[in-house]
């Protein structure tokens, strides 16, 4: 009898391993498939500073650098999911006004995002290319602590997943899931591992820990101010703490509107370069903001 029990337990344990992995992957699938609106218009504030610890609290070591940008995203359904196009336009600071970004994310496995940058003062659009397919992107999003890689859409198959535990995080029941890039994806990623706290009900990532290629802690990303907008859960604040550069960025959605009708033509390079075209459409879109 006891022998049977041990054998049964052992069998359960052995079987449970892939099961946990299976479950973790399924959860992530649900997270990626979560409805976040077919389009989004928002006004966002990015604030970044280098920090020090003063009397046990973290404070900025200098005045935070603030950038405000307006962005428009639109999804395009494709087989197995969606492609996504977005445009971001800097409003503040004055010296950088008019600088814009255009980004295309693709559903297709293995296809990297395309990015263009428009430098208003030079009047030039440049496609941003990371040199080799096998190297991680090093750039930062508008000079913040958010990397390009942090902004890109994720592909489910680029990672293997493991459910570490269930946990209550900020009063929300969460799954704690570890994701590791597949050997192939690892060559392109800045990170060797991530641990995420997924809200079981809302399927939002509330906290992400990112580890660099040496396995050392790199960034902690925490999402707060979770609100329902048009029936869709959205975290309006994202705080990124880069523990290596000792810098933090808060990305705050000052205003946001979902499922707004956006013309396809707006998500092209013309929006970057043609300011009359851009402003006329943007006026209408910004109008929809809360």
């Amino acid at each position: 009898m006891p022998r049977f029990t041990i054998a049964a337990l052992l069998a359960c344990w052995v079987l449970a391993q892939p099961l946990y992995a299976e479950e973790a992957r399924a959860i992530m699938q649900r997270v990626l498939d979560r409805d976040n609106g077919a389009s989004e218009v928002s006004r966002t504030k990015l604030a970044t500073c280098r920090y020090v610890k003063k009397s046990q609290r973290l404070v900025c070591a200098e005045d935070p650098r603030v950038k405000v940008f307006e962005s428009v995203r639109k999804d395009f359904p494709v087989a197995g999911g969606k492609d996504s196009k977005s445009v971001m336009l800097i409003r503040e600071p004055a010296g950088e006004q008019g600088i814009g970004f255009l980004q295309y994310d693709y559903e297709a496995q293995g296809r990297d995002s395309d990015q263009w940058m428009y430098l208003a003062a030079l009047g030039k659009v440049k496609r941003i290319v990371s040199g080799s397919d096998d190297e991680p992107q090093t750039g930062s999003f508008f000079g913040s602590e958010i990397g390009y890689e942090d902004m890109e859409a994720r592909h489910l198959d680029d990672y293997t997943y493991k459910l570490l535990k269930t946990d209550t995080y900020r009063k929300r029941p969460c799954w704690v899931i570890e994701a590791k890039p597949t050997p192939e994806h690892a060559r392109k990623s800045n990170y060797s591992r991530s641990i995420q706290w997924i809200d079981q009900e809302r399927l939002l990532s509330l906290k992400i820990l990112l580890y660099d290629r040496k396995g050392q802690p790199a960034k902690r990303i925490i999402s707060t101010s979770v609100e329902q907008i048009g029936g869709i859960w959205i975290a309006r604040r994202m705080h990124v703490n880069n523990v290596q550069t000792r810098r933090r960025t808060t990305m705050a959605l000052e205003s946001v509107a979902l499922n707004v009708k956006v013309a396809d033509e707006f998500l092209t390079q013309r929006t970057l370069t043609d300011s009359a075209f851009r402003e006329s459409i943007l006026q209408g879109l910004v109008h929809t903001l809360d």
Binding site: A47, T48, C49, R50, V52, K53, K54, S55, Q56, L58, V59, C60, A61, E62, D63, P64, R65, G95, E96, I99, M117, L119, A120, A121, L122, K124, V125, K126, I128, V129, S130, G131, S132, D134, E135, T138, G139, S140, F141, F142, G143, L209, Y211, K214, G215, Q216, P217, R220, I222, T224, R237, H239, V243, Q244, T245, R246, R247, R248, T249, T250
Partner: protein, 913 residues
Amino acid sequence: MQESEWRSLTPECFSIESNPHALLDTASCEESDPKEIEEITMLAQLLNHLNVWFEGLPDRLRPRRRSIWIGFVLLTLVIAGGGYWVKFDMTLDAYFQDDDPMKRNLDRFRMIFGSDESSYVIYRAKDGDIFSDASLQAVRGIQEDLQQYRLKLGSGESHPLDHIADVQTLLNASYMEATKDALIARKFIGDRFPETDAERERLRQAALEHPDYPLLYLSEDSQYGGLMIRTDFGTTLKHETGEASGIEAVAADSTEEDYGFDREEDTLLDLSGDEIEVAHVGRTEGLPEFQATEMEEYVSFSEALYEILNKPEYTEHLEYHPVGMPAIVHAMLEMMMTELGIISVGSLLLILVTLALLFRSFSGMVWPTLLVILTSLWVVGAVGWTGMEMSSMITILVYLILAVGVADSVHILSGYLFFRNQGEGHEQALRSTFHKSGLACLITSITTGIGLTALLFVPIVPIQTFGLFAAIGVLLAFCFTIFLLPLMLDLWSPFSTKRAESIPQGGKPHVVQRVLRYVEPLSHRHPWTVTVLFVVLGVALLPGLFRVHVDSNLVNIIKEGVPLRTTYELVDRVMSGTNNMQILINANQPDALRDPEMLKAMDDLQRHLEETYPHLVTRSHSLVDITKDSFRTLNEGRQEMYRIPEDPAVLGNTLFMFNNANPKDRRRVVTDDYAMGQISVSLRNAGSHEYSVLIREFEAWAAQRFQPLQARYPELEISATGTLALMMLLTDYISWSQIKSFGLALAVISVLLLLVFGSFRAGLVALFPNLFPILTIFGLMGWLGIPLDADTLLVAPITIGIAVDDTIHFLTHYRTEVVQHGDPRRAVVQSFRETGQAITFTSIILSLGFLIFLFSSHNGLSNFGVMSAVAFFTAVLADLFLLPSLCLLTGLRFGKEAPTVASQETGIPATTP
């Protein structure tokens, strides 16, 4: 022996009051009329009492020898045990007050830009081509090993290579490229190794044409490549809480909580609000304190690095020449450890042998050595017990104790043998010796001790510590000589009866004694000639004194041909140089470095440095270079666009682009708010003097060039910083502090000399022979162009110590004699005979012991050895010839001054002692 008996033996007139019956030598007292007796100062009386006290000391110690020995052994065990807790702070930081502006500047730099210390490994491809597949593979292997060593470690484990912040080579150097519509920010080679010769050539051309790569990642003939390993040395924050500033470490090391992240950082800081608390570090808040790097950290870092470099699969293709702080510390310590060990032992052996030869006795060798060792043990133990930190000045301390300890014990031993050879018995010889030399030893020790204690007033902690413990050491050496040596001699005396018997039968006296006998007439026959000779010598040396330059050179102190020096010479020749300096451009105002005018001024400064000091400055790098390269890239790579855009908006966009593409490189040259930037200047190795001149000159130049910008940026400051360049300035600063400190000690000692004999005239007479050795060594160093650095400076305190010793011994003997007989000439002869041997012995022993440093591969140490020998030798000359001549010329008689010798025709005393 009864007290009354020994007292009755003292031939003193001046003990009248205390012992009116003890007038033995009435002849000498006839001259002293009552009026003169009144003139006798209290001090003189005290000195006379002390003579008597010392004379009886060995007899008083003898009955208590057992308890003295036991007590001493126990005390030694306890005190020397403190040595276990001795803390060393060998860093240069130890020399600074925390608010020193230079240190603050460096701390500010470290706070903002991280460490400027790097390990730079030059490699040569064994197949002659650093772009060959084998070479590139090897470099990639090394780079991966350096980046991935942690994979084998647990998350909490620390590793010496954790100090690596970044490894850069041709493989991963950031490279911006423009095609018609795309901006490509990539690694220079990455994984795309060239496969054909044509590809290799293209790559080589691209590397050589890049504005930043040549001299950094490859030599101009592409024979050599460079591996730049940036570190975090010097940026570890002190983990102390409750600091005045309240600014603390944000620890990089993680607790195991929260999967390796520091849990408490969850105390979130929402930056999206309008009111953000800001601690303007270095402005409204104090700068955090950084921990000084321990030497061992550099050593273990280098060892871990070399372990990877020396893997056979890499050494098969590459040959290395590592430079930078970790490499230099590693090589120096390795060299010092093996060499200093051998040389110190050699020096000790030489001293032992010389002692044995001079005293022709084994115990004459053992006792002085034991005294020196005991003194050192006690001093080091005392340092441990007080919990004070010892700096690199410990070497000076040990050598000073050695010199003073040898001098003290040799004087007593030599005196003892002198009197034994005169036919006195053991106990009587001890009494005579202590009567004659005890006081001299006391005065010497007190004078030197007070001089060293004066260093407590120098506001530099290591110098204070040194002064305190050197004074303790000098006094301890004296106490051991006075209280232990007589007991030691009771146990085992260096005098052999056999030899004593041989002397009356016409046996040959010691060679030193024969030489002394031969030169003796010089001391009293031609006082004018001798004095004039010394004056002429002094006048000749004096200009040299003003030519002495303070200069420390990290590499030139190593003799030519030694590997470390060869490596430095190679790197200085083929690459960007082995040293670097940072120029801090602090406008203290956001966006100042987005101003084209500011960048232009910086550009001018860089060009000025490169053009004015081509022998020193090889390259410079700043936001200016990044801007030009970015602007060119944005303009399809057109060479004429390699410039600073004039339009602030265009400049702003250019900088925006670069910051997006490569924030890491941007952070290295300018702060996030563009309020402060740095120019990194690569330098060839040079001495601290040359660097100081460079820094002084360019700062003045910059002040002028940046003047027009001052209106817009009133707080603008341009200053040099950086560990290595600054270290040189600090070394100079330390040297100067030491020079001033030793000068202070010398001044205090000189004043004491004026006072201690109770006669101003005697003081003046003592002063000149005392200063002569100092004048000689520094004058000679000036004429010979030997720079004054940390090592050659060692000579100063030792010379002061020994010169004072010799002078006081001679003068004390002279005083006793002249007071007794009233005849300067007779006193000179007698003192010469009694102290000449001891003074000469001391100098021979120490000269030989220190001359062994000649064999060091370290120029500083060998200069130190030679200069010490010169100092000891000139001290003997000055004290045996100049001092007697001055005594005669001034007719020095200590209160019973007679006409000077020039007008006297006194004969030499008929009796020889």
